[in-house]
Symmetry: C2
């Protein structure tokens, strides 16, 4: 017999498997956020992964092989793309259902988004977002609601008020500043915004390169720059420098809630003034909220997404986050959003100014998990099921009776379903982190009892246990009880876990 060539069980780069407590936490956090969104009056929708490419932006692949930030497929004559966010699909959804929907339309949605970008440490090509948006209103109260909703959601997920900050700025202020620099070309403005957006990650030096000729990263890949002249770059950098309210420790974030735009820039341009008025207006209302100290003005916040037109905001954690190697990392934001007043106009002549927020679930989870004893404090179980060991399959009735006793009381439990003997079964229970195993053999059958081995106390390596006698010798951890007392005994063990 020739040996078949085996496949390598690899994943494509930029994708990742997840398991265990992380997923239990994700389910729980998702539920908390959804409940909060409902409390704020949002209704849920779900749009599919794929959209007609043209409908979700200018990322339409112009070659047969998609390579422009999205995953695109040729579908018959047309192209379709996996969504890269939940906002562009919402604009499409709203336009398709406009006449039937309330105005404003408040919706939330949760789901995966995909980016066909260069993967890096902590940067994946698929990630989970949960978004809330209000479509069809110019009212600044909607902007206020968004920042408060973000703050309240993070708080309800288990982040204390001193553990996060929401930075607020306005796209009009940044573009107003660019008026002052003498840059009015829309494409160039967006390119500059994207470059400055990388300030947190690349610092002033990186941004300076990106505003000029370009930047080579560690891997040697080159990103073409915006191509501004020295004088233009200096003006932009000066604005960033003088407006940076926080130091590297981010300690200055705290207590800087007062809205205090730098007076020097107040006469920059009418657009700048307009942005400032909007900011003053939302901060006046934010002062009425319990999160007034968490929401701060941060003029250097720009956000890289093209469709923003007014107030923008972003949430950051105030504690250090480590990677899997234990190194502190530049962590980025756990959520953000802003006003986009023209996105829906791609579909409709009826304007629908809008504002929204997006929470990066995966990133938020990474942060939250690093809080001290988070899993324990939140009672996220890290133990497996009670395992009922299997000796003889001839008469399964008593096994199922034991199983039903446990399961009908909500105790996670199972009859061992593998092929191994007692040694393999103990090893299995060990790997599952089971609180206890149950033994039901000839002796137990005769006396109407079950034997319970508590795996939490007097833990004996499963490696040493080969026979039932070995197993019995560790008396301290085992007890034999009448069948009717089984449930109480197991509950005691789980409680002490």
């Amino acid at each position: 017999m020739t040996k078949e060539k085996k496949l390598k069980p690899n994943l494509p780069s930029g994708f990742v498997d997840r398991k265990g407590n992380e997923l239990i936490l994700k389910d729980r956090i998702t539920e908390i956020i959804k409940k909060n969104f409902q409390l704020y009056g949002y209704e849920q929708i779900s749009t599919p992964s794929f959209e007609v490419s043209e409908n979700i932006g200018k990322f339409l692949p112009d070659e047969d092989r998609p390579n422009s930030g999205v995953f695109g497929f040729k579908d018959g004559k047309d192209w379709m793309s996996l969504r890269y966010d939940l906002t562009a699909p919402l604009a499409r959804y709203y336009s398709a259902n406009e006449t039937l929907l309330p105005r404003p339309f408040k919706r939330y949605q949760e789901g995966s988004v995909w980016r066909n970008e260069k993967p890096g440490p902590g940067r994946f090509r698929e990630f989970s977002q949960i978004d809330a948006d209000i479509i069809g209103t110019k009212n600044i109260l909607a902007d206020v609601e968004m920042t408060l909703l973000l703050a309240d959601s993070l708080n309800k997920c288990g982040l204390n008020k001193e553990e996060f900050i929401i930075r607020v700025s306005n796209r009009k202020c940044f573009f107003g500043m660019l008026d002052w620099v003498g840059i009015s070309n829309e494409k160039q403005r967006i390119a500059i915004t994207r470059a400055v957006d990388k300030y947190d990650r690349l610092g002033i030096k990186g941004v300076t390169s990106l505003l000029g000729k370009g930047r080579k990263d560690k891997s040697g890949d080159f990103t073409k720059g915006v191509g501004l002249n020295q004088k233009q770059i200096e003006k932009i950098i000066r604005y960033i420098d003088e407006n940076t309210l926080f130091d590297d420790n981010r300690e200055n974030f705290i207590g800087s809630a007062t809205f205090a735009p730098l007076i020097e820039y107040e006469d920059l341009s009418p657009l700048y003034q307009e942005g400032l008025e909007e900011l003053k207006n939302i901060f006046k209302k934010i002062q009425l909220s319990e999160f007034k100290n968490q929401i701060v003005y941060s003029p250097t916040l720009v956000r890289g997404i093209e469709y923003y037109t007014g107030n923008i905001f972003e949430a950051n954690l105030l504690f250090k986050v480590k990677n899997q190697k234990g190194q502190e990392v530049e962590f980025g934001s756990v959520g953000g959003g802003g006003r986009y007043d023209t996105l829906v106009s791609k579909f409709s002549n009826n304007p629908a100014p809008s504002v929204g927020v997006s929470i990066g679930l995966d990133r938020l989870l990474v942060g939250i998990q690093q809080k001290d004893n988070f899993f324990k404090k939140n009672k996220i179980e890290n133990f497996g099921p009670i395992v009922i060991c299997l000796f003889d399959q001839t008469d399964m009735a008593p096994y199922y009776k034991i199983l039903n006793t446990l399961r009908s009381s909500g105790v996670s439990s199972e009859i061992y379903t593998g092929d191994g003997g007692i040694k393999a079964q103990m090893k299995y229970a060990d790997r599952r982190n089971s609180p206890a195993v149950i033994l039901y053999g000839e002796n137990e059958a005769k006396s109407g009892t079950v034997t319970i081995k508590n795996l939490n106390v007097g833990k004996k390596s499963s490696e040493e246990i080969k026979t039932r006698e070995d197993w019995k010798s560790n008396e301290s951890a085992q007890t034999t009880v009448k069948l009717e007392n089984l449930l109480d005994e197991i509950k005691k063990i789980i409680k002490s876990n």
Copy 2:
């Protein structure tokens, strides 16, 4: 100004938007099933949407445009595909983590899967599945657990025992029958399996065509047949005919739990005998369960998936399901699974025989929703938030006070965030199906009261309400209370909803 050409907010074919109660129900059902899987001792994993194409099957696209049932992308030198189920990725995951995982490995996973197939009514190219599998065991108890887990999960989702049935069969029996027909070619066997799998949908005539030269569907599309000769087809059809235990009303399902293979076929082939023994063995154990009447032997069940090797099963609803037009539809199964003993061997020399179950969440939801008063009985809210009408934004403090009173008691509520006057606000509350609106104007401010309009009683069309006076005239539905009594009053209204 030239008018910009607007985009059409269409979806690609085979994809669909969802909203409202359907999604609340989906979240609830998902949670019920996950909790049940945990109760049975399964742990959650999550694998990404994309896998290396080669790793999840023979569906590797052989042309630049993927067209073989999966969505494939060229990623650098390699191809990657969106998963078409959750089982093939599990085999990859298990192989990648084999040494660290318990054996057997019991996991559940929920997520979207994608099929690049011809869409049709009720047939989508993206849908949700939730799967439980046991990897690394030959033990027949694992097969038993799967059928019971499926039955129990459906039951806990709200389906009574008389509302569903789980049909069980064995791939070895079907292949053993094909031995008798004289067909031993593996590819041909799979093709026949796929044809017979369409029996429920296409009937004997359709299957006969597919076993022969092929079949043209209503749209004119031709599916190539297996190309068997008349004698072979007759033998297969005879087997199906004589083994069909249920009539079109499916009433015969009920009460046919007793395992009674037709004696005539017992000497078909050694493979057939082996399958029969496995079936007898699992049914012996199923008889011990509370679902013994829901799990029945159904020899014509074959299932179209290639990787099954032993026992297979499928869950059907026993009540009629209608489409959106109110027509009864051939509904298909809401879940199913089976044993696949060789799938993991693609990666590893260490055999890992396995068995699993998959629940089709979207389909299950369609079915469940059609039960009488399902939403009401399950307290799935179909009303919107309490809307606090907005008259003057100068002093928002009292509005936020009212809002906090409601939200801190868990009452879904909002300050109107739109741009409209009172008429638009009433129309909005109407569209949101709000139980009540709250009015806080000059009079209320002076007297420390709020006015509540109960939208459930004395409903007056929002179209007629143009001023505050109009609104006031409908006295029966409105009441003015002290601020401290607001919450009680609102709770009363919600309760009576």
